[in-house]
Symmetry: C2
Subunit: 109 residues, 2 copies
């Protein structure tokens, strides 16, 4: 046990849940907000900004990268991260499809 049974859900459910899961950590929300607000790439200003160890920030960045929502480009000895607009927009659509669907009034509650 302790293993999510992904095989019993459909692809859409698994995909959406994965996205939400990665975003479901305040450090990763903070990182995304920071990148968006800087309107530019950043390196590890995040270590100072957030107050987490460099290894920890790097790990969170890796997860965001693996999702595709950010991408990094090497710039000398530092790495600049930025939002991948294409992926960001895909995510917007996924979320909007799910959350902005109409919820009907129910009988019982």
């Amino acid at each position: 046990m302790g293993v999510t049974k992904t095989e019993i859900y459909n692809d859409e459910q698994n995909r959406l849940a994965s996205l939400l899961k990665v975003l479901g950590h305040p450090a990763r929300i903070a990182i995304l907000q920071y990148i968006i607000n800087q309107k530019a790439c950043i390196c590890n200003d995040l270590v100072e900004e957030l107050g987490l160890a460099q290894a920890t920030i790097s790990q969170h960045l890796k997860e965001l990268k693996s999702l595709g929502i950010i991408q990094g480009s090497i710039d000398g000895k530092s790495v600049c991260y930025c939002i991948d607009e294409k992926v960001w927009k895909e995510f917007q659509e996924d979320f909007n499809t799910f959350f902005n669907q109409e919820v009907k009034v129910n009988q019982c509650c």
Copy 2:
């Protein structure tokens, strides 16, 4: 370690991350979709529908309830769950605020 350092983030970041985290599991996505599609309350049709043990479904329902996004009302010996529209709409706004913000083009990537 193993503990998220919530004290270093602001309330908005922690709140949004909590919401996303709860929704970041395919069983909970499937449960929400099922409730929405039935356009009515459900009981543990979910056990048969999803193929998870009754205890597991009950646990997922509890998490969704604690978020406030669903509510249950007792109906004889079963419990009917439904979306709490007010909370659902609050979440829609939170998500829209975050995800539908404009992301500017960056310099480096």
